[in-house]
Symmetry: C2
Subunit: 476 residues, 2 copies
Amino acid sequence: MAKEQQFVSQIADIESDFPQWYSDVVLKTKLVDYGPVKGTMVIRPYGYAVWENIQKELDRRFKETGHENAYFPLLIPMSFMTKEAEHVEGFAPEVAVVTHAGGEKLQEPLCIRPTSETIIGTMYGKWIQSYRDLPVLMNQWANVMRWEKTTRPFLRTSEFLWQEGHTVHATEEEAMEETMKMLGVYEEFAKTCLSMPVLTGRKTEKEKFAGAVATFGMEAMMHDGKSLQAGTSHYLGQNFSKAFDIKFLDKDGVQKYAYTTSWGVSTRLIGALIMTHGDQRGLVMPPVVAPIQAVIVPIAAKKEGVLEACHELETRLKAAGIRVKLDDSDNSPGWKFNEWEMKGVPVRIELGPRDLEAGKMTVSRRDTLEKSELPLDNAEEGVKSLLSDIAENMYNTAKERMESRIVDAETLDELLDGVNKGNFVRAGWCGCRACEDKVKEFAQATARVYAKEDTAETCVACGKKSAHTIIFARAY
Amino acid sequence: MAKEQQFVSQIADIESDFPQWYSDVVLKTKLVDYGPVKGTMVIRPYGYAVWENIQKELDRRFKETGHENAYFPLLIPMSFMTKEAEHVEGFAPEVAVVTHAGGEKLQEPLCIRPTSETIIGTMYGKWIQSYRDLPVLMNQWANVMRWEKTTRPFLRTSEFLWQEGHTVHATEEEAMEETMKMLGVYEEFAKTCLSMPVLTGRKTEKEKFAGAVATFGMEAMMHDGKSLQAGTSHYLGQNFSKAFDIKFLDKDGVQKYAYTTSWGVSTRLIGALIMTHGDQRGLVMPPVVAPIQAVIVPIAAKKEGVLEACHELETRLKAAGIRVKLDDSDNSPGWKFNEWEMKGVPVRIELGPRDLEAGKMTVSRRDTLEKSELPLDNAEEGVKSLLSDIAENMYNTAKERMESRIVDAETLDELLDGVNKGNFVRAGWCGCRACEDKVKEFAQATARVYAKEDTAETCVACGKKSAHTIIFARAY
């Protein structure tokens, strides 16, 4: 246990210093490193493998819902950004600007995309002529750049990787349906693949995407009770179609502006899953996106037959589609246990002479740290079933925690007390910006999503008969 | 045939105006469009699907050879670029520079990566301590930016997508082995997946990567007889490890500089496959990376049972892993034939009442335009086997053409005559830069690869007893 203590002691206390715990975990498990330019990150292979699994799962869902991938340029003329008034106001302060290229000063400065509505809108305006061209359902996987003052790996970095869906529809109804459908895809994905429960709902005017008519978000509760916006789906109405001249000749022979949507999730999801599931020992990887789903640790590896049996088991599990790693390094089993626990591998399999004799393997789950034995005979099914149990248990545990930590407040003091204790706070809100600002100032909490619109509660800030119920929380 | 004529007439003549043929084909088939910023491209869904298939095939090969994916930042401090003297000389004139971000002027200008040796080298210098850390075998899929004066979609664009492998080794031998291994992976991939024959070999000093000790390239012959550099693998020696302090403590207790390699292919490959296989009717897609491998065109679609049978066939082929599309649009069969031929779909299946009665389908191959009949019973195997025949035939056809168009020259006049006739020209070269420049000036041809080093031929330019045999060609 000395080694374990040594490992654990390298990670800051998760309860008393969560920010330091986070930095310790992401760096020590080699998910990520700081890039040379302030605010940038290097996604190391262990972190990138999580992203690849996220991409694979999402990409399949996007294609199943009829979307195609494309790729639009990184550089956007500054003049495009200014065509939608709210959009430029929201993004201009964060853009990185290219002024020189090929040894010359550019005639017009170009910005590195902070998001691509403007450049994609320009192309859509060119491509779309008739109702026959609609709907257009595209997605791109890309890097984007938003120059931020305060950054943290995965959570907020000047450059990050994401996907951005951009769709065009003939009617408001269709566009709204698409907006909600993709929010639903995100929610189902978060549950199934990240074992992460979320709250979904509309965002307030203050919190919505710059240029959207309405933004719908999904919010996840982190270990410290703060909220993390894990994905958004925007109904853009005709705002961008008017700014970028996305018109079509409808069946009735009339030229109309189209309705557009956009929706995205990013490498931020990696931060979200770390802060949802992690514990004092380090990462706890959700099985569906875990780079390594099961690790085999030989016990008394030098005893005859042990390593051979481990290799054979590895081959069998791999053939069954399980992402398995055999750790046949020179480190001691204790060292290996700690390392793979810190890295969050969902299932650890120990195989030693006694196990082999009994035709069994010793199995530890990372989520509950419980040990059990499984027959070697049917190892494939045993591990698969365990992975599926773990995914479900991780989701249920996180869901219970989140639900137990949503409290109601009727006054600002109660709201402050609620968020101080690491809760999401459900409270009434009259709908005015001043009251939203007041909550922020008083409790450093923001409106995450509408829990319910048009209710009859009392506004937590001004006491007026409220129109809406809001989930307030401190947020990343 | 009227419709066909109409389609064909939209594409410039492939023999007399190949550049215009290329533009017509890539735009009309919706592979790509011009981006708003000069020199940029928008990769449309049909083009991006080719790239996704290329990625999938290559990524699998990289992983099978032990490489892991990672992601390094887009922005590189200018000062990094200058650490390797040849490297900065080669790339500085082409970089795009970010001078402002977040509303402020940056203290140090940042360049958008034209390639990532410098930033990855910096991280490797930090991460690698001991021989135990080696080899490091990483790859990244990313966008890069090189500001070019003359651009053409896929072939040369200011921004393009690529993969760049970056590896670190303890010894020269290992690094050289890696360099050649990845060149081999590219060559096998080009043959298997793009049905594209290539010539591989070392590049001359003049043509090598800026900062490499040696560059090995693969060159493919395009329809017009010009060469296209389709991929490169660089042995970097200790150039970058010295510039970026990539040192390790070796087994013998001595600190040593490591040996590095890098290797890459890009969206240029899409241009390569278009110009290798295309014909007067448009694209001819290599089956392995074709977005649509087989298209089903119903004949007399309104006749009872036809559409149902088409849907059933589509379902069966899909289930068998074939990328199939049923074109049940209102267009006439003739129109559809032309459209899918232009888009280069390898197999067209016609299914009408007579076919159904006979339990057959009529099948046309895009490569030879031959029609035949296949039993519906065993459609899955029939189409798969046809796809595989097509891939092989496309490779063989392209290989025969390339081989028949490699000619020998002993004088500059012969060399000029050879390239004028659309050939690759094999000739002696003494090895001096002045003679290489002379060939360029006289024949607008460059040294593509060494065919053989240390031969006893006569230099085509100066008449000296030559040291090497070179493949000269005009190139994209």
